[in-house]
């Protein structure tokens, strides 16, 4: 499939153990094992779930270590025939984009299991979580469109039952809303998938295939067809992300879900949408993604600002965190549709960062609820006095969510904004306001919940237990590590992103990725001859492509302006 891969002996050694299928099968087997445990031995159920998810997580981390960071293409490829007459394959592989999604899944699940104990039906609860883990793993590594579709739908089922069965308040309403919204998107996506495969097969004359890499290389669709099919995919992902105005299921689902559900929903499942945009939206339909980028840039920015404003108004702490997720994912969408290396890399990084910090936030909000039996901000207050360590941990997580430099939220947002300024300046200008608003609503919430003098039950707020601290510790370490030393992640993400951007450049007329940011104070005489020549070439190429290029005005103006300063 990928010639470079077959040649590399290192990778051949890697593929000896089919790690990717193992990542799906292990949680599935643990789900079966959980069902076999007699139902009166609840603690052992928990142990099995924990063991299964930890082993899976460990394998994911091991895979990250074995990942060849010099290789931009897909690794650990497993490609077995599934239904040859239809061109369906069990095609699993990871690259720099999906690698960290899988690692994130592997890390968040054991923590989510540890962080909260279900009130009832421990067996079913843990079995669903393990099925969810298998589905989440599968969805990030599937490279066959139908296989992806199957996993994309499969993750709905356990989440539906987790929210509906073990949630709070209006859990059933929230579960149904979540399911129907997502299903509405994905039903149309199935039409899109089938249309894409058949149109491509009939245009190219090749055998029918649902393989993502082959379809991406073929690029056989006409403009309108590509746009329509892209929109069917985009709608499914937009619901999942969620992009404003399709976000209304999210506050309900997040708020009513049990803690583990919220953690996984925010940490893993929302990423399905943004990951889908990168892997399927941009990769399969570069032209359509480029032409229609303005829609998503606009919706992304609207989402950032709208969610920030709404979050400020929330009375419920968990709902506030949920809206902050909408805002953060707006940033990620913005980064994706800049279609340049910085923006996309930032988005992938931010996906992981958001998973870690929002996961931690949900866990801590869950603990607040466990202790105080309320999430209403008005009923909390002064918690810092009785529980200083708890408050300190919360501060760290919250600051990372705000995007404080040195913590993980900063790196991703910074890269996204950097990419955004080159490609979509005005959108980015408004997006920056979102960073300020994030500081506003999170700090204000923190002030109301933790500062002041505790009253009533708040006086007896229990301190963070050692066991809880241990659960939280990996996330806190990651928050700091990713903020201080993002290089190991970035250098694995970037080659794949560059490959993707090259793919977009090759398939979109008149699109050239803007060069790296020019530092303004740099004197123009310091520019080398080669750089000047490159710049001139790029400018010429841009002018050639001017007829097609009607959308990305700002981006081009930006780079043109840079070109002038260079001269």
């Amino acid at each position: 499939m990928i010639p470079a891969l077959a040649q590399s002996s290192v990778l051949a050694a890697q593929t000896a153990f089919p790690i990717l299928p193992a990542l799906i099968i292990t949680p599935l087997l643990s789900a079966v094992a959980i069902l076999l445990v007699p139902s009166h031995r609840q603690s052992e159920v928990r142990l099995v779930a924990l063991a299964g998810s930890t082993i899976t997580g460990a394998m994911a981390v091991w895979m990250m270590a074995a990942f060849d960071k010099t290789e931009a293409g897909f690794q650990f490829v497993v490609n077995e025939p599934w239904l040859t007459s239809m061109g369906l394959n069990w095609h699993f592989a990871v690259d720099g984009i999906s690698l960290f999604m899988i690692v994130l899944t592997g890390i968040l699940f054991p923590i989510a299991i540890l962080a909260a104990v279900p009130q009832h039906d421990s067996k079913a609860y843990h079995a669903w979580i393990m099925v969810l883990m298998a589905g989440s793993m599968g969805v990030f590594m599937a490279l066959d469109l139908l296989l992806f579709f199957v996993f994309f739908e499969v993750v709905l089922i356990p989440m539906y039952f987790l929210i509906g069965g073990w949630g709070h308040g209006r859990r059933i309403y929230a579960a149904l809303k979540f399911f129907i919204y997502t299903m509405a998107g994905s039903a149309l996506m199935l039409v899109g998938i089938v249309s894409l495969a058949f149109l491509t097969a009939s245009r190219t004359g090749n055998a029918l295939t649902f393989d993502v890499t082959q379809l991406a290389e073929a690029q056989a669709l006409g403009t309108t067809a590509q746009r329509l099919i892209f929109l069917t995919f985009a709608l499914a992902f937009a619901v999942k992300v969620p992009i404003f105005p399709l976000h209304t299921w999210l506050p309900d689902a997040h708020t009513e879900a049990p803690t583990a559900g919220s953690v996984i929903l925010a940490g893993v499942m929302l990423k399905l949408g943004t990951y889908g945009y990168i892997r399927f939206g941009v990769y399969l339909f570069p032209q359509a993604a480029y032409d229609l980028a303005w829609i998503f840039l606009t919706l992304g920015v609207v989402g950032i600002l709208y969610a920030a404003v709404v979050a400020t108004m929330q009375k419920d702490l968990k709902r506030l965190v949920a809206y902050s997720s909408v805002a953060h994912l707006g940033f990620i969408v913005l980064g994706i549709f800049t279609l340049n290396t910085q923006g996309l890399t930032g988005s992938v990084f931010q996906m992981v960062a958001h998973g870690v910090s929002t996961g931690a936030l949900f866990i801590m909000v869950g603990w607040v609820y466990e202790r105080r039996h309320t999430r209403q901000i008005a009923e909390l207050g002064g918690l810092q006095k009785p529980a200083p360590i708890f408050a300190a941990a919360f501060t760290l997580v919250m600051l990372s969510s705000i995007g404080l430099p040195g913590l993980n939220g900063f790196t991703g947002e910074f890269l996204i904004l950097l990419g955004g300024f080159q490609a979509a300046r005005w959108w980015t200008v408004f997006a920056v306001l979102g960073v300020i608003l994030a500081a506003l609503y999170l700090l204000w919430a923190y002030q109301r919940v933790f500062h002041g003098t505790p009253t009533g039950d708040n006086i007896d707020m229990p301190e963070l237990k050692a066991s809880e601290g241990l659960v939280l510790l990996p996330l806190l370490v990651l928050i700091v590590f990713m903020g201080v030393y993002p290089k190991p992640m970035l250098e694995r993400i970037e080659p794949s992103i560059e490959r993707l951007v090259a793919h977009v450049e090759a398939n979109v007329d008149g699109f050239i990725e803007p060069g790296p940011v020019q530092v303004p104070e740099r004197p123009s005489d310091a520019v080398t001859l080669t750089e000047a020549l490159e710049e001139a070439e790029k400018k010429a190429a841009r002018e050639e492509g001017e007829v097609e290029d009607s959308v990305d005005e700002e981006g081009r103006e930006a780079s043109l302006a840079e070109g002038e300063t260079t001269k």
Binding site: L199, G222, T223, T224, A225, L228
Partner: protein, 139 residues
């Protein structure tokens, strides 16, 4: 169909040209129905205009020239008659099949004989069923 530029306009024009003939033909179906109703209405109407209309008490009797009706018009028959009627129909149909078969029996030969035996066997099974389950008993 090409989803290329201006696809919707193309689709619309094609849809109209493809199916307008077809829709026109439905008009004929409609005319057919109108005609059917009109014919019946005409005949009944004409008859009403031309026929003499002199009702007498004897004429509106159920059986104008027969015995005088006794009792209510709405009377129920015994359900048992239906079963016998059904069994009768069964063998009536059997006879309908057997007569033409008998005419050509020489030609059909053994094959025809076997076929008819199977046919009668299946019907006889029905009769045996009715007999065994007590349908033939008049209770």
């Amino acid at each position: 169909m090409n989803l290329g530029s201006g696809a919707l306009g193309e689709i619309a024009s094609r849809a109209v040209s493809d199916y307008s003939n077809f829709l026109r033909e439905y008009l004929i179906v409609g005319l057919f129905g109108v005609l059917a109703f009109a014919t019946v209405a005409t005949f009944i109407g004409l008859a009403r205009v031309f026929r003499p209309d002199r009702p007498t008490a004897a004429k509106i009797e159920n059986y104008e020239s027969g015995v005088d009706p006794v009792g209510d018009g709405w009377s129920q028959s015994q359900i048992r008659y239906y079963i016998f009627a059904l069994l009768f129909v069964m063998f009536d149909v059997e006879a309908v099949f057997i007569f033409p078969w008998a005419v050509g029996l020489e030609q059909f030969g053994v094959f025809g004989l076997v076929e008819m035996v199977i046919f009668i066997f299946i019907l006889a099974l029905g009769l045996a069923y009715a007999w065994r389950k007590g349908v033939l008993r008049w209770v």
